[in-house]
């Protein structure tokens, strides 16, 4: 047979081999020399899921849980599997119409693909959950997913505990290293924020394999790279929830705050900021609505007034002035002064004093005599030994700072204000380099530029109670599992006052006891307990307009072994003795005796809770806001009615017998586009003048028979 062209067999073989070598070359390139494909495959298929641990709980000083976790449910849907769902039944339960239903399904599918589950209705109410759970078999493609939500069994201490919110981009930028992701929740205010690290726990990460449509196929490499979630640690507070609740009750219908501190430990026993809100308001599916309500409220319930608002402390500051005067030796306990109606040391008869007579330190405190403390303050500033009023004021400020005034105390909740103890530099700017004590004489009685937060004031009371030391006020007593981030270290340190002898405190104690027994705070006695207190009434101005005075009261009890130091403040409540002082007395009794004894005292609680001291301007703002929302509602209602009307009118038109068609002008108006600006006029035009009532009836009938 022919064997020519035999050589071509070799060529064919060579071609085969050559082509295979080219293929191998490309395989070599793809599989061995490029590493990017491996990474791309990983990116394709590996799905990283963050597993959220339970957030830590918060307990009060008696180990009652005041912040817990509870389960709420989200209704989830996978649109591609939701065919054959009983739409009507589902809409009925959720209270939406089918158009909304379809729109939501479309939106969800658009945002998150039709094959992946997405949230259809978040955070169902308990009754909605119950009804859905019974009927779930009717809704293929839908399922209920649990989600942990914060729960506040006492519904109190909202501003102390704070709230969680979804993190935003600026938060993510600030906390880059901490592994937050879009859609996470983090503490935004209060303890939730300052102890976020402890409460959040440690997130776990699970890796899954996903397919080309991002559906989970199973765990990645049998979970060897997964890490488990560690639950958040619980906090034990020094707060007494019963006391807190009583405080919130007493402060009802008032604007102001209460701070009570255990002087021995610096632990805050209660921190009321009024008006407050039920923290449960900000969980659940109405969160957004409620939040905006609170946000718009002119009384600013979201502000923690105990740390985030600063006021002139008023007469309560006199205690400090007296202590400094004694310590500096410008007065002694026997020093006395006569007031004949005003202080004339600066020649202008200011400040005035309320009671005339002769006062020594004890009675001056007891009767809150302005002249006495103006004299003391003037003497302190005018001391020759420091050379100038600048250096004298510096010395005074040194004392004040050692009481924790003039700068942030370092309380363990965010947004604390500094307060203000004015410096010589500040006065040089205003009065020139040669300012004198008379320029700043109103500081002597806690007016003028002196500002404190209420927590600072309570801390001053604690310092006086301890006769010369304080521990920075704090809410958290201990952290479950130890203080790993040493957040509590600074709450173990005693801060001592500068150069104050014990005798000075003793004298001031005498005065403060006098306040309760025969002085300005006599109305606030606590039966059976020796309380030391000091009232304060503070003139204040808002944009240059004089407002009603703020009422202050600072106290500690019992005198010999103080267990509670308290500061109470009611904005624009008038004289300090009438509102703030009795509230403080009830709070002290509740804490020291564990209950309010006697019907008379209990009635006082109810009466005080009812006293409405909301400042006039806020009340007006609230009224106008309420009016606005009422108008909006009624406008909506009008629009709604308008629509129904128009619809029924056109129907009527179609059904109406021929003789009515002569009213051609009428129809023309009706067909014109609706102008919401003058709805009533239009309505009159639209309804046939003869039978408006009957028409309405027809409407109603139609409405009821429709479903």
């Amino acid at each position: 047979m022919p064997v020519y062209n035999q050589s071509r067999s070799r060529i064919v073989q060579i071609i085969f081999v050559a082509v295979f070598l080219v293929i191998l070359g490309q395989l070599l390139h793809l599989q061995i020399f490029s590493s990017k494909y491996k990474m791309q495959a990983e990116n394709n298929a590996r799905y990283r899921k963050v597993v959220y641990p339970d957030r830590g709980l918060i307990y009060d000083r008696k180990s009652k849980a005041i912040l817990e976790n509870t389960i709420m449910y989200d209704l989830m849907v996978t649109p591609s599997e939701a065919k054959g769902t009983d739409t009507f039944a589902l809409c009925n339960i959720l209270g939406i119409d089918t158009a909304t239903f379809r729109k939501r399904i479309r939106d969800v599918g658009f945002k998150n693909s039709y094959v992946r589950p997405s949230v259809f209705e978040a955070l169902l109410s308990p009754e909605m959950f119950a009804r859905l759970n019974e009927n779930m078999y009717k809704f293929p493609g839908f399922f209920l997913q649990d989600r942990p939500v914060r729960d506040y069994p006492y519904g109190a201490a909202a501003n102390v505990l704070g709230y969680l919110a979804e993190v935003d981009t600026s938060f993510l930028r600030r906390h880059k290293e901490e592994g937050y992701e879009m859609g996470d929740y983090a503490g935004m205010t209060g303890l939730e924020r300052s102890y976020e690290k402890v409460l959040m726990g440690q997130r776990g990460i699970k890796y899954f394999i996903r397919d080309n449509r991002s559906r989970i196929q199973g765990s990645y490499e049998n979970g060897v790279y997964d890490s488990a979630a560690v639950a958040g640690k619980s906090l034990h507070l020094s707060l007494d929830i019963e006391l807190q609740k009583l405080g919130e009750k007493l402060m009802g219908n008032k604007v102001g705050s209460i701070v009570a501190i255990d002087p021995q430990t610096g632990g805050i026993l209660c921190m009321v900021s009024s008006p407050t809100y039920n923290p449960n308001y900000l969980t659940g599916n109405m969160r957004r609505k409620h939040f905006s309500e609170l946000y718009m409220d002119p009384r600013t319930p979201l502000v923690n007034r105990a740390v985030n608002a600063q006021y002139s402390p008023g007469s309560t500051f006199k205690t400090v002035v007296g202590i400094v005067g004694l310590s500096e030796g410008v007065i002694d306990e026997r020093f006395s002064i006569t007031c004949n109606g005003a202080f004339w040391g600066c020649g202008n008869g200011k400040p005035k004093c309320l009671d005339r007579g002769t006062f020594n330190l004890t009675s001056a405190i007891a009767h809150s005599d302005n002249t006495y403390f103006a004299t003391v303050f003037k003497r302190i500033i005018d001391q020759q030994r420091y050379g100038s009023s600048d250096s004298s004021l510096n010395i005074f400020n040194k004392y004040a700072a050692s009481f924790g005034l003039g700068k942030r105390l370092g309380v363990d909740i965010p947004s604390e204000k500094n307060g203000n103890i004015p410096t010589p530099k500040y006065y040089q700017k205003i009065f020139g380099p040669r300012w004198v004590s008379c320029n700043i004489i109103s500081n002597s009685i806690g007016q003028g530029e002196v500002l404190t937060t209420l927590t600072q004031l309570a801390n001053v009371m604690a310092t006086i109670a301890n006769k010369g030391w304080y521990i920075t006020p704090h809410l958290v007593d201990s952290i479950e599992g130890g203080d790993r981030y040493s957040l509590l270290a600074e709450y173990k340190v005693k801060h001592h006052t500068y150069n104050v002898p014990d005798t000075a405190f003793e004298a001031v104690h005498n005065g403060m006891q006098g306040v309760m027994e025969y002085g300005t705070g006599a109305a606030a006695k606590v039966p059976g307990i020796v309380v030391c207190g000091k009232t304060g009434t503070v003139e204040n101005y808002l944009r240059g307009v004089k407002q009603k005075d703020h009422a202050f009261f600072g106290a500690f009890a019992p005198r010999n072994s103080p267990r509670i130091a308290i500061a109470v403040m009611c904005e624009n409540a008038g004289f300090g003795a009438s509102s703030a002082a009795p509230i403080a007395s009830l709070m002290i009794e509740k804490y020291l005796k564990d209950s309010i004894a006697g019907k008379e005292r209990q009635d006082k609680v109810e009466a005080l809770a009812k006293v409405n001291l909301i400042p006039e301007r806020m009340r007006r703002a609230m009224d106008s806001l309420a009016r606005l929302s009422r108008t909006k509602d009624s406008l909506n209602e009008i629009k709604q009615r308008e629509k129904e009307k128009e619809m029924s009118d056109t129907m009527d038109l179609e059904e109406r017998p021929a003789e009515f068609e002569t009213r051609g002008t009428d129809t023309a108006i009706k067909n014109a586009p609706a102008t919401p600006a003058k709805p009533p006029v239009k309505r009159q035009q639209a309804s046939p003048a003869a039978l408006p009532d009957e028409n309405k009836k027809v409407n109603n009938n139609r409405k009821t028979t429709k479903p």
Binding site: V12, L24, K38
Partner: protein
């Protein structure tokens, strides 16, 4: 017993073994693609519902078919070659009338019961037989241009019909018969011209048009300079060189852009461009323009398939990610992975080493077939054997090159591996007719 002995006598068991190995690997690959964790493997294999169990059934049918062919008389194939070819062409024509549209190509004849027949697939066998029959004519001189032309017509007629059915992939396969014809004496300049043309087209795609023109001119000038003595003697040579130069520049400047913009569909141009790593501007494409002027949304094709396929193979590395552990495969990222892109599952699971061994098996089979071809005493058997080798080679090359991004995507299966009854049956018949013919190589068949 006597009968049995005579059947098994002379059979090339190595070929049969390689065939069996490849079919098994194929079923395994389909299993890898379809596997879902947590299902009973044996249960799904026997259920007949999954693709791998279906392929197992097809393999059974093929084994039956193979036995049947081995039992048949080899004279049958020489006798019926032309008739079968005619029948095949008839079927191709019939497809136009009663064909069914599957994935945009009207190349299937429904047989009922959910089974479809693709005549173009069957025609490969018939064409191989017919070509063998034609070339093996005793008085045929294959060096004559006329006979070469007839052979070309025989092999390209089904290809043209196939193109008309919109089934470009299968049509290309018929080009593989040129390898057979080359072996039988087709002048080698055709091969060289073909190769040069291919290089020119690829160069056109890759390079800047002006740069390429300069290079071509430089080559022409260099050639004239080197051959200046001959050119002096013979002016015709100069003309010849200039004509070639002109043709090359013409192809590069006008022909290629024209074909891409006016002949190909937008997606076809894009596939070819993306192969060389470039993006094709569809707004130049005539068919795309036409569609957009008819207000149809022009879908911008992308290279998702190739990208995912390359990722799958590339992620295999040297040793692969292991049996059933490939994430690309489990996540179904590669489209058509059980048919045209089956090679990716292998590449991902077993890596470079696995691929090399796998391609090695193919190469051994191809060389074995060429060896069989060369030991035939009859031209018919030899031509047929070369046809089988060429068809398989072409399939393997195009399919594998397509998955690794060396060739534009054309839907042709990997022989004996890809899922699909038609394809498996065709290759079984092709190979076993060869085995039957080889067993009877001592009998003179002309």
């Amino acid at each position: 017993m006597q009968q049995d002995k005579s059947i098994s006598k002379g059979i090339d068991w190595l070929t049969v073994l390689l065939y069996a190995v490849l079919v098994s690997v194929g079923i395994l690959c389909i299993f890898m693609v379809e596997y879902k964790p947590g299902t009973s493997v044996i249960g799904t294999f026997l259920s007949g519902k999954t693709n791998y169990s279906k392929q197992l059934i097809f393999a059974g049918v093929c084994a039956l078919m193979a036995t049947f062919i081995l039992l048949s008389d080899s004279k049958l194939y020489t006798a019926f070659a032309n008739l079968l070819y005619a029948f095949g062409i008839l079927l191709m024509f019939a497809t136009f009338a009663i064909g069914k549209n599957v994935n945009g190509s009207k190349s299937w004849i429904p047989l009922g019961g959910g089974f479809n027949l693709q005549p173009a697939e069957l025609c490969k066998i018939f064409t191989a037989l017919a070509l063998a029959k034609f070339i093996s004519q005793q008085d045929l001189d294959f060096t004559k241009i006329k006979n070469q032309a007839i052979a070309a017509v025989i092999s390209l007629t089904p290809a043209i019909l196939s193109i008309l059915q919109n089934e470009t992939g299968l049509a290309l396969v018929y080009l593989s018969f040129f390898i057979v014809m080359f072996r039988e004496g087709l002048p080698s300049w055709i091969l060289i011209v073909g190769f040069s043309f291919g290089t020119l087209v690829v160069a056109t795609l890759i390079m800047e048009p002006n740069l390429l023109a300069i290079i071509l001119t430089a080559i022409a000038a260099l050639t004239i300079y080197l051959l200046r003595r001959q050119v002096k003697r013979d002016k015709a040579l100069l003309v010849f060189i200039l004509v070639i130069w002109g043709a090359c520049v013409g192809v590069q400047r006008f022909a290629v852009p024209y074909i891409f913009n006016n002949v190909f569909q937008c997606y076809q141009s894009q596939r070819i461009y993306s192969m060389v790593g470039k993006d094709y501007d569809c707004s130049q494409n005539r068919s795309a323009k036409k569609e957009s002027s008819e207000n149809k949304a022009v879908k911008k094709p992308d290279d998702y398939n190739v990208r995912q396929s390359k990722i799958a193979i590339g992620s295999g590395g040297i040793t692969g990610r292991g049996f059933l552990k490939g994430t690309q495969t489990r996540g179904k990222y590669v489209p058509e992975q059980h048919t045209d892109f089956i090679f990716t599952s292998l590449g991902e699971a077993f890596g470079f080493i696995g691929c090399t061994i796998f391609l090695g098996i193919y190469l051994v089979l191809l060389f074995r077939i060429i060896k069989i071809a060369e030991r035939q005493r009859s031209t018919f058997s030899r031509v047929y054997a070369y046809s089988v080798a060429s068809i398989m080679f072409f399939h393997i090359t195009v399919n594998v090159c397509m998955t690794i991004g060396l060739f534009p995507i054309i839907g042709i299966p990997l022989p004996l591996i890809s899922y699909g009854g038609s394809s498996l049956l065709t290759f079984t018949v092709l190979i076993f007719i060869l085995v039957r013919l080889d067993a009877d190589r001592q009998v003179v068949l002309r």
